[in-house]
């Protein structure tokens, strides 16, 4: 193979796939990227076997072919090259890279050894704007679990229901759920997607891009004309989250999000670094916050709230509260409660987002 590509395009292609290249791998070819020619361009591919990324860029093709090169080295080279066209060529099992007066010859591995990309029937799939996907994933991915024993919770549940879609993530202690109305219908799907794949999607596509999405038995694919991302799906079933979403509550509070966040941050300083427990007492007009940590000391705070319902005292992990408050984007936040051992829900006030976060309480000691 032999192609010529601008330095800028070459570098952009390499950095797009670089993030998927595993740092440590038992399969040597995975630390390489696959460079192949197209009719009037170049395609660069990288994979860690779970997530695969491929990008195309314009190039002048002289001779067709494919080659694998060490990803890290080539990316480092591309960064240091002078601003001149890059000629890339395979020559007797080696890759030759020429740019201005610079010339590199690199050892390669046979391109046949490179894992093939999943075969995903996009024609049976649906379409979505990059921005919509980003909104869903950015509001939910944070809540996934890191526990190895329940792999389903390591993923984000993506439910497609005709014109509506939803993403849900939880670690069993707190949960985030966002819904979105689409202009177009899109079948019915329940997918459990690794958050790392969603990060790649957020990174590689623009908000305005129209993405094609398709799935096979085990994989999910996202693509535009130039960029493709594939990910292995996590096998379900996902726990029945709808069952734990409170259907009713008898206590409702509206608080200034900034004030609430600041007060919890202050309490978190004194909270135990292990349980991070803060105690919240909701009452008419005010929310009292308190922490006690045996070796350290105590603190109290108070903020004004609008409140309806009987008084309630409930404990939470301050870190979970702060996290949830960060993603509820509105100036005010609505907190709904029913009992000290039942979850609290956090929702934006105003705006049109269909977003809710659940946080399970900490048991309070007598």
């Amino acid at each position: 193979m032999k192609v010529t590509v601008t330095r800028e395009n070459f570098q952009r292609g390499l950095s797009a796939v670089a993030a998927t290249i595993p740092t440590r791998t038992t399969l040597p070819v995975l630390s390489n990227i696959l460079v192949e020619t197209l009719e009037d361009g170049l395609r660069v591919r990288g994979t860690d076997l779970d997530i695969s990324v491929s990008v195309q860029t314009a190039a002048a093709v002289e001779r067709q072919g494919a080659i694998t090169v060490p990803a890290k080295k080539v990316a480092d080279i591309a960064r240091e090259l002078p601003d001149a066209p890059v000629q890339f060529e395979s020559e007797g099992g080696r890759a030759v890279l020429v740019c201005g007066n610079s010339r590199f010859r690199l050892n390669t591995l046979p391109s046949e050894e490179y894992p093939s990309f999943p075969d995903v029937p996009f024609e049976e799939g649906w379409k979505l704007r990059g921005g919509e996907l980003q909104t869903l994933s950015a509001h939910t991915s944070f809540a996934v679990s890191g526990e190895e024993t329940r792999p389903v919770l390591n993923g984000v549940l993506w439910q497609v229901r005709g014109e509506e879609m939803r993403m849900v993530a939880t670690n069993g202690h707190r949960l985030a759920k966002m819904g979105l109305q689409l202009g177009v219908g899109a079948g019915e799907e329940d997918l459990i997607v690794p958050p790392k794949a969603l990060q790649q999607v957020e990174r590689l596509f623009d908000a305005g891009d129209e993405l094609e999405i398709g799935r096979s038995e085990s994989h999910l694919g996202f693509r535009t004309a130039r960029t493709e991302v594939y990910t292995r799906l996590i096998e379900g079933p996902y726990p029945n989250y709808e069952q734990v979403l409170p259907k009713s509550h008898d206590k409702e509070c509206v608080a200034d999000r900034g004030e609430l966040t600041a007060a919890i941050k202050r309490m978190a300083i004194i909270a135990s670094d292990q349980t991070h427990r803060v105690r919240l007492s909701f009452g008419p007009e005010k929310l009292a916050l308190a922490v006690q940590t045996p070796d350290l000391g105590e603190a109290e705070d108070e903020i004004p709230i609008a409140y309806e319902g009987g008084p309630i005292e409930i404990g939470f992990n301050a870190q979970y509260l702060l996290e949830v408050l960060r993603y509820v984007g509105t100036d005010e936040v609505k907190v709904s409660l029913s009992a000290p051992e039942r979850p609290a829900t956090f929702e934006p006030v105003g705006g049109d987002q269909d977003y809710v976060c659940l946080v399970m309480p900490l048991r309070l000691m007598e």
Partner: protein, 584 residues
Amino acid sequence: MTRRIHILPDHVANQIAAGEVVERPASAVKELVENSLDARAGLIEIDLQSGGKTQLRVADDGHGMVRDDALLAIDRHATSKIKDDKDLRKIRSLGFRGEALPAIAAVSRFELETAPAEGGEGTRIKIEGGRVVAVDEIARRPGTTVTVRSLFFNVPARAKFLRSSAAETRAASEATIQLALANLSTAFRLKSNERELLDLPRSAELAARVGSIWGDELAATLIPIDYASDGIRVAGLIQRPADTRPGSRRVYLFVNGRPFVDRFVVRAAEEGYRTTVPHGYKPALFLYLEVPLEEVDVNVHPTKAEVRFRNKIKTEATVTEAVRSGLEGLESAPSLGRHEASFQLVSRGPATGAPRPRPESGAASQIALFVPGDAPPGLPVEGEDTEVAAPMARPGAMWQLHDSYILAETRSGLIIVDQHSAHERVLFERIMQDYDEGGTASQRLLFPLTIRLSPTEAQAVEELQGILKQIGFELEGFGSNTVIIHAVPNPHPHFDAERCFREMVAELAHGSPLVDSARNQHERVAKSFACKAAIKAGQPLSGLEMAELFDRLFASELPGHDVHGRPTILRLSLDELERRFGRT
């Protein structure tokens, strides 16, 4: 009818008393060396023939005696050390009964040569079986030499019970070692059949003496302790937990400079090692207690081997606390290469009787280990820093190695922390404290976990339900060998509750060396939880997480030791690095 009762002649009474004081050559050696120490000898030479059975001699350069005193010394109850019963209640000298010399002289061919330090004539007294056979004026250097030949020649029944020469030599040498460990400023020499067994120069430090007795290898495994609370001071050397071995070890106890045996004190010291050494491992101990003289009764045993503390419980508790506090410092963590030879007993400023004193750095001043009675104080030694300071937990000076160890720079070198072991220690202490405070806060779950258990496991869980709740596992329904978990502890962000629970239940149901070494069910559960819940090896940690683990580790009571008896910290000193790189 004639009278039946009469007073025994002195030499017979002395023979009977001898039975209590002099059991074997080693007891004679002990009594004579004690006398030499009471006479403030700078050098004591002991000479044995056939284990002391045919002859033993103790020679000193102490203050000696004038002729009249020497003659009195061999009478029963003749002593220069106490005057009345008031003195008996606060004895500083090793001898006080005025019994030893007449007792020995009653059962041997005895010869005492002595000359006073102030100068003047010397005296030689020869006694055979308690009868003075000669008193001569002689010329000799100041000091006293006692020679005991043919021990028990006139008490054949006792002579029969003497052991082999080798066994008697061992016993005599052991008696000497005991006294040598308490009297560093005196030099000792022990010969047996002209062969030198011990040559102990005056030492400034206990570790040096231990080194000259048993070699520097043993000395290098010891760390200094020095702790005082409520009038009781416990100093000495104790073995680094990582260097302990199963089976027998060396244990020496002293109170106010007097050797004693007391298995309760030993047990109290071992209590201080709890959770830091594996089951069955025993530390070497060299413990020096100092208590107000009136707080200890040394006159309860004819050979003074046992003593009685007025406040036994307080004494033992102080010993435990002293050992604990010794194990708190970084010193107690094993180090790569040589241990810095600073085995001085360094006072950590004012009495550290406060609960859980934190390791603190700073200049420390040397204090004499032990000053026996009114004997001359130990050699002065320049003050020196020991490293008991917590390392700086600067995230910039910390690196994670192989996702399992944390390397950190310290003032005097570097330390490597095993992240799992370290977190184990942190969690264990946390939970033991939580028990006292009514349990830990537990995170309720959105989706309760349903876990199948074997019948044995299910039974264990049912029994331990209450304790499991205290550590944060809220359980329900034990029918048909399944439990439902509604709430879990959440000790760190990488915690996997289900896995932890399963592993813990398996361990608690089937036992393991770790949990079987616990003393009650609460500790059993705490140990198991600490082990299963701690951050695993292989877990990448952020700089912040590492710093937090450090802070919590060094805030714990025994940062250097996990709950299995393994170290959590390895030290490498700059000195050692410089030595290895040939920079010194």
